[in-house]
Symmetry: C2
């Protein structure tokens, strides 16, 4: 059985690591917060003092970290995974990061005879807790098959998208579509309300046809109820749009809609909405039309 | 039983009228093409020589026409419905038109003691044929209840959205969300392909999570297969976006995303794509990136 190392026990990583432990995998963990490490040790995991020590104890090392610089540091930096990992092991980064960084990580591990997968997820904290994440995977077929029993503990819709970095490209595409659909719903429901029509009934009418989306269902309802407690924080979605826009620049691909929705997220953040759910993009439209609470007021009263 | 008059037997109106005839409603029809009228007469309907004659024979008059000017002409012009309709009758316009024109039609009929409904539909030719249209209705509760048995023959998701014009507002919102979701999917799948990742696998990965939409399912697949035979023609969707943008101006509501996607539809149409399915918006992205066939080439070879 694989010896799993797990690094990064935040909002997403913690429930993911817990699910692996419950599924019976031997687990070694590391995260900055030593109290969280102690919590896992109590539940039967081994603790480690740094990423190198995790790698020394493991045949598969998983990272779940906030952004590209953290992954570079933990994977390739001093006392990083690469210093402890044995040839023939597997490195899986499940963070959402720049595909270019993901490809660099693949290349660095390949030099040590270690295969890597980029395997970012979608589905949020609830998906992590329930083991129902969508997992988008880049890397070799062999590495994907080796990781499959682990992914099956963590998620439901598991797709091998392509070679190194392809998982991160898919995740960037996912975040573009989600952001743009939120904007579409926000713009349409704002227009309905301004034209004197009940946006709840418009949402209902739209759910039955081609305008149907998960976003209209879930985030449309959030907009109607002003329910902007995260959920997925606006500042994190903005980060993911930066990744998409970087990709567009790297591959000379104009992304006019993504560039535009990114500026609306900037406006939401500038108005105090960084920590609100991304559905709060609707508040930008209220600011544009001089209606309702701003993000600052909303954050103050929430 | 209501005596139904049906005016406008085009791609949508013809199968709708046929479904009403099959459901056993007495039917009087008029459309410009006299061969189509003759076809309905053979099937047991009565024919009329103009909209006024249809109204004289009917307790409920339905119109299904291309755009606002045609509805104004047929409803309120010389030999129009208003000249023949009896007090206590019901006028239902199921075309997609400007909400302001819809409200004017309501007002004109109200002066004759005739109630009106604006009841635009979504679901296309297939929805019309199968009687599974989404119907978005504006007008009084009483008029809506009177029309319900008729709507139940024509559609499935039937929503009373609000007062006069509210159905048209909902339809405008529907067309905004559909156009913007098509753009989101086109932009994301274009980026995937440019980054060397199989867009079919990206679509598959995205279908399981928050990026899920009917558009990703249906129009995403069309983009992968270059299947741009309509479907719903780009020039008609552009018309519907004009209605949405007019509404935005009328109610001082900025619609930045809708304004932008309208310019992309203009580009598609300028490049020869007016008669292609609206999923052909993806061709604009191929033009932007210097890849693939333009709409003109596509139309020439299709």
């Amino acid at each position: 059985m694989e010896q799993i190392g797990f690094i990064g026990l935040g909002i997403m990583g913690k429930p993911m690591a817990r699910n692996l432990l419950r599924a019976g995998f031997p687990l070694t963990v590391y995260t900055r917060n030593q109290a969280t490490v102690a919590e896992f040790v109590e539940q039967g995991a081994k603790g480690a003092r740094n990423p190198r020590e995790v790698a020394e104890q493991s045949t598969v090392v998983i990272t779940m970290l906030p952004d590209s610089p953290e992954v570079q540091e933990v994977a390739l930096g001093p006392n990083g995974v690469i210093e402890g990992i044995k040839p023939g092991s597997l490195f899986i980064d499940m963070s959402t990061i720049d595909p270019a960084v993901a490809r660099a990580v693949h290349a660095a591990f390949a030099e040590r005879q270690v295969e890597a997968l980029d395997a970012p997820v979608s589905g949020g904290q609830i998906g992590a807790e329930q083991g129902t994440l969508s997992i988008m995977v880049g890397g070799s077929e062999a590495a994907f098959e080796r990781a499959r029993p682990i992914f099956q503990v963590l998620g439901k819709n598991i797709t091998h998208v392509g070679g190194p970095g392809a998982g991160q490209v898919a995740k960037a595409c996912n975040q573009m579509v989600v952001a743009l659909t939120i904007q579409a719903v926000a713009e349409a429901l704002t227009l309905a309300a301004r034209a004197g029509v009940d946006p709840a009934r418009v949402r209902q009418a739209l759910l039955g046809g081609f305008a149907h989306s998960r976003i209209l269902e879930v985030h449309g309802q959030r907009m109607l109820e002003n329910a902007f407690t995260p959920g997925f924080r606006a500042r994190l979605h903005r980060k993911d749009l930066r990744i998409a826009l970087n990709l567009g620049r790297e591959f000379a691909t104009p992304l006019p809609a993504t560039a535009h929705v990114a500026t609306l997220f900037d406006s939401l953040i500038a108005n105090g909405g960084a920590e609100l759910d991304h559905a709060a993009l609707a508040l930008v439209y209220r600011t544009l039309t001089g209606e309702g609470t701003t993000a600052t007021e909303h954050s103050a009263t929430a």
